[in-house]
Symmetry: C2
Subunit: 351 residues, 2 copies
């Protein structure tokens, strides 16, 4: 029998989020039922709630940075038991047999990974609903273990902002002595600084805004470069092995290419669209540099990242809100007025 | 005492090439003096002769695909002796101590490699002159050994067209079972097909021109895809580990990105300038794909490539011309009327 669950949803691109009682599937034999304790608020929640990408399904319950506690498990679930602290990120399913899935790269599933919300379950064709809700039902393969000792609210953004920066850092083999730069100090950027630093890299923040120096240093930056300052940009010419570009809107990446080292890569993780102004190939060719993209991370590497964060006591810098304040939080997020992630305390749903 | 050498030169962007007697340096202790036997005609010879890149120095003696025979060596030269068959490519010097040079990647020298022509020698500040001449004087570190048995005229284009496609094939670890595509069937493209095939890859040619099928198959292509045909493009979606884009003018690379596999790379080796229409980041992000650039190759890998070509009997498909026909050859090259490289028989200079 389907479960009746309460949460917050939007009914159209123009509505605010408001309370909704909705149905989740009757748990399957490999499902884990999770009481949601905390849910991070990602910029993409707002994009999808407002149909900015023209692919929204309503009603929509957003939320894909989920921390919770297992309340029950299906008969075939062996890795989890009631009471376990767990996490759920941006995906809840994938085909499980394509070349990407077989490498543990479900985020690149050739048959598309199933999004945690705003998607359709591939087995029962029911819509998926996210973490702004009291409970969620997820296939065990897409449930992560959250290490003991991590602050649970601060851990929620690891499931999206954390893994989105972790995956390129690992794929491009960042470690001790690597030189890494992060463009933009937001939800993704601040996690990029923390993770790269903990991996042993020398870490630089590129920002357009003066006044972020103190915060950036606290978060792990060894150096701050004002990207609007030619002298500062010139001083890091040819320096970086990897630049993680977290900027979520159209921007000129050409000035950053000259700061890449030979064989260096600029990886876009925030901006989906056309590169304007046009990308100049000359710096790529005369330094064998690359412009690449990356999206979230696979389940195995998400677990690896959570375990790493447990060992290094890394969580996100957050502002905890009540679910009733979500619409105001969206407005503040639009103005970048958050350091550095809102996290909803889902206990507020019961008030 | 400087040497007096005859060759063909242009005196300005608007002049044709014509006979010129010019000076080369008195050989230094580490120099090799080479009688030029054959010199390939690269598209960039024409660009530089006509000052298309706004950096030309006149008079200019073009030519950087040089095959010759050693006539004398300096007192400190041990690797070469008179009579040896040798080659000289696009560079004749570099700083020799930067991080790139220390890795054998002189083409990415931080202090700029010295071009074989249209450049200034870093020691004596004399202009450099290329291979459209009877002799050339080159530092031993930039002289390559040409394996016995290779057709010498056909080997000349290996020094630029060959190494320019070899270097990315090696850097991106192409081997047996790899899936490689080459965009464009010209001097570079036809070498890309031959080399990728000999490395054991499955090889595809992208072309806009029907009618190249037979030639492409002979050169090593397993498949020909008309890039203007949506059905053919769709049939290779997600297929290639590496695409070598040899097109030397502005063109839309977006359609090719969808034919890259997960983690695949499109490497630009022909076009220097802005990517128009604008590059779309979405295919990069949803498949962790890269757009990269690459220029010629280091001296060690050029020797490796020549040795590989010796073992596999690979040379360029050429049309041998007399130096007196060089201006007509330039006009034909502009119309892509060459299969696939002009090579000057420098014996014609003595006629």
């Amino acid at each position: 029998m389907n479960m009746h669950v309460s949460g917050y949803a939007t009914q159209s691109a123009k509505d605010n989020l408001a309370p909704l009682c909705f149905e989740r599937r009757e748990p399957r034999v490999n499902d884990v039922v999770i009481e949601v304790l905390y849910c991070g608020v990602c910029h993409s929640d707002l994009h999808q709630a407002r149909n900015d990408w023209n692919n929204s399904i309503y009603p929509m319950v957003p939320g894909h940075e989920i921390i919770g506690r297992v309340t029950s498990v299906g008969s075939k679930v062996t890795r989890f038991k009631p009471g376990d602290q767990v996490g759920v990120g941006c995906m809840v399913d994938s085909c499980q047999h394509c070349a990407a899935c077989e490498q543990g790269l479900e985020q690149y599933c050739e048959d598309h990974h199933t999004l945690t919300y705003n998607d359709i379950d591939r087995h029962d064709r029911m819509p998926t609903f996210g973490g702004y809700s009291e409970k969620i039902v997820v296939s065990d393969k897409f449930v992560l273990k959250v290490p003991d000792g991590l602050d649970l609210a601060g851990a929620a953004p690891l499931l999206c902002a954390g893994i989105t920066t972790w995956s390129p850092l690992r794929h491009w083999k960042i470690g001790k002595g690597s030189k890494v730069a992060v463009i933009g100090l937001g939800g993704l950027g601040h996690m990029g600084l923390k993770l790269a630093k903990a991996m042993g890299a020398e870490v630089t923040l590129f920002t357009r805004s003066p006044g972020k120096e103190q915060d950036a240093r606290r978060l792990g930056a060894d150096r701050i470069v004002l990207s609007t300052n030619e002298g500062q940009m010139g001083a890091v010419k040819g320096r970086f092995d990897l630049i993680i570009d977290t900027v979520p809107y159209v921007h000129d990446i050409n000035p950053y290419l000259s700061t890449l080292s030979l064989n260096g890569t600029l990886v876009l993780v925030g901006y989906l669209g056309k590169l304007e102004p046009m990308l100049n190939t000359i710096p790529l060719i005369i330094g064998r540099k690359s412009v690449a993209g990356s999206v979230i991370g696979g389940i195995a590497e998400t677990q690896e990242m959570l375990d790493f964060c447990g060992e290094h006591d890394i969580t996100s810098d957050i502002e905890v809100i009540r679910i009733q304040d979500i619409n105001e939080a969206y407005e503040r997020m639009l103005k970048s007025d958050v350091k550095y992630r809102f996290v909803i305390d889902m206990a507020s749903l019961k008030v």
